[in-house]
């Protein structure tokens, strides 16, 4: 379908070869959405990875009263509808009566008060914040299950030899869960592309002025809103290939020998 020029009103399909892709190459809006998506993938993956691995390590290795309670709470955002998350974060980011700005207000840090969803430079990070918020619990549970299968004798041996907690983490935990982390990197790419679209669609609608437009929201707008189906599908094809290529590259770069235990 991506090879046709296909308008919604005329309902005629015309074979145009790769014309759609050539238009796409020069489309400033698409490049903007491309940049936004890359930024989101990188930011969300890094922050979610760090936070999730940290909390997974803490909850599996330390004996904490109420650890189960924290695990249950951390997973809650994952079961909420993305529409609800969009609503919650609209309330948090609201400029006048939002939770975030009023916290800064009471701490008399007025400089930090922002138009979280109005400023073109900030809004993409606001979206990233919401995505990280909803992703932490899911990945944390994944890392926890992978860490739980590491035999405790490794840690006993390490602590007998006087290795600190940090040493134990970098030399035992990280190498042994490396494979899980690699798998989740692919998940980050796929799910960020997908969820950022759903969230942006529900929260900002791509605005203001295209500053939160991401891959698929642009595709959806072109195909469904603008009724230029052929062009929309061309975007879809490009995004699909891109996400595959990115996943393959990341997979290749992070390749290490799988350690058995």
């Amino acid at each position: 379908m991506s090879l046709y020029r296909w308008g919604g009103f005329s309902n005629t399909k015309e074979f145009v070869g790769f014309d759609n892709f050539i238009t796409l190459w020069n489309d400033v809006d698409f490049i903007q959405s491309f940049q936004n998506s890359i930024l989101l993938i990188v930011v969300v993956a890094i922050f979610t990875l760090l936070i999730a691995v940290f909390f997974a390590a803490v909850l599996t290795k330390e004996t904490i009263p109420g650890g189960n309670f924290f695990r249950v709470i951390f997973y809650v955002p994952n079961i909420l509808s993305i529409v609800v998350i969009a609503g919650v974060f609209s309330a948090i980011y609201d400029p006048s009566s939002g939770l975030l700005n009023s916290i800064f207000g009471t701490l008399s840090l007025e400089n930090f008060q922002q138009m979280w969803l109005g400023d073109q430079d900030i809004i993409i990070y606001s979206v990233a914040g919401a995505l990280v918020w909803q992703a932490i619990g899911y990945y944390m549970v994944m890392y926890m299950s992978s860490m739980a299968s590491i035999p405790p004798s490794f840690y006993e041996a390490a602590s007998l030899e006087g290795a600190s907690k940090w040493k134990q983490f970098t030399n035992i935990t990280l190498p042994l869960i490396w494979n899980t982390i690699r798998t989740t990197l692919t998940f980050y790419i796929i799910s960020t592309i997908n969820l950022s679209f759903l969230l942006v669609k529900a929260m900002t609608g791509g605005g203001p002025d295209g500053s939160t437009e991401v891959f698929l929201s642009y595709m959806y707008d072109q195909a469904y809103g603008n009724s230029t189906y052929g062009y929309g599908m061309a975007i879809g094809v490009v995004v699909f290939i891109f996400s595959f290529a990115l996943a393959a590259i990341v997979n290749h770069i992070t390749k290490r020998d799988v350690l058995e235990y």
Binding site: S81, V84, G87, L99, V141, Y224
Partner: protein, 293 residues
């Protein structure tokens, strides 16, 4: 943080961990709890500090959401779609997964990899093509029967939901069936049970743990899904998330926040209640095969 630093760093480390854990917990509990509180606030209260506790229980918000915003109707639609989608999914996926994991036949490997390839297809990519396909078929039906039934149809939506969830479900179920020892089937066939009997009376009861996980995951998926519902139901019969989306847009422009948060509570509450009951199973089940679309 080496051992020679003594117990002092140990205490500090513990403290740090607690602060971090509690901070994240607050980050999650406060916004969700805040929505619950906001849903019983009166409209005037939204002009004050967002941290003020609600003055009284203002349940009119819920009544308004149900009556004026038709949330009740959307709730019913959501239930219908979710239940039918789960039924269709189980009826198709259970036998398919069983057969794919147990029987060797021509094309077995091809179908298996075909299902696995389906895991990579994302609903967001195919929402618009599905819409176009249904639109085309609708025009055909229009010329034959005089009316098109495929758009704005709850059953069609349920069918498509089930179809989009099939690859993941078959993948998860068949990997579970593979772990079951085949001795049971041999015993059943010695006792004279046919293929159907073996499947229904022997294998399915044994697969119940994984079936429960499948139902849970797909319930959350179908209940929360909105992009297909938005695309395929441009007219009536909208589901709850789409209804909420409309409500949010309408109430924000009308500066009438109460019903909006009431609507959010209506969407959230079923999943939260379910989660509280089954949270152990859900977080364990994720390790069986975790992939979120």
């Amino acid at each position: 943080m080496s051992k020679s630093n003594g117990p002092r760093t140990e205490v500090l480390f513990k403290l740090f961990i607690y602060v971090a854990l509690i901070t994240l917990a607050i980050f999650i509990i406060v916004p969700v709890g805040w929505v619950f509180l906001a849903s019983i606030k009166e409209n005037a209260e939204f002009y004050g500090s967002p941290w003020a506790m609600p003055v009284g229980f203002h349940f009119e918000n819920f009544i308004e959401a149900f009556n004026e915003a038709q949330m009740g109707e959307y709730l019913l639609n959501s239930i219908v779609v979710t239940v039918f989608a789960l039924l269709i999914l189980l009826v198709v996926a259970l036998p398919a997964a069983y057969v794919l994991s147990r029987f060797k036949f021509r094309g077995n490997g091809f179908i298996n990899s075909f299902v696995k390839a389906g895991l990579f297809i994302n609903v967001s990519y195919i929402a618009v093509p599905i819409f176009l396909m249904l639109l085309d078929w609708n025009t055909v039906m229009n010329t034959i029967f005089g009316e098109g039934l495929l758009l704005n149809n709850r059953l069609v939506l349920a069918f498509i939901y089930a179809a989009t969830a099939l690859p993941f479900t078959i993948f998860l179920l068949s990997s579970y069936f593979e772990t079951l020892p085949s001795d049971f089937e041999e015993a059943a066939s010695i006792d004279g049970a046919g293929y159907y009997r073996t499947m229904f009376s022997v294998m399915l009861p044994m697969a119940i743990p994984s079936i429960v996980i499948v139902i849970l995951f797909n319930f959350l998926l179908f209940w929360n899904e909105y992009i297909l519902a938005l695309t395929l139901m441009p007219g009536e019969n909208q589901t709850l998330p789409v209804g909420l989306l409309n409500l949010m847009a309408a109430e924000r422009s009308a500066v009438n926040y109460g019903p909006m948060y009431a609507g959010m509570v209506i969407v959230m509450l079923p999943t939260l209640i379910l989660y509280i009951f089954v949270q152990k199973r859900l977080t364990q089940g994720m390790t069986v095969g975790g992939l979120k679309g």
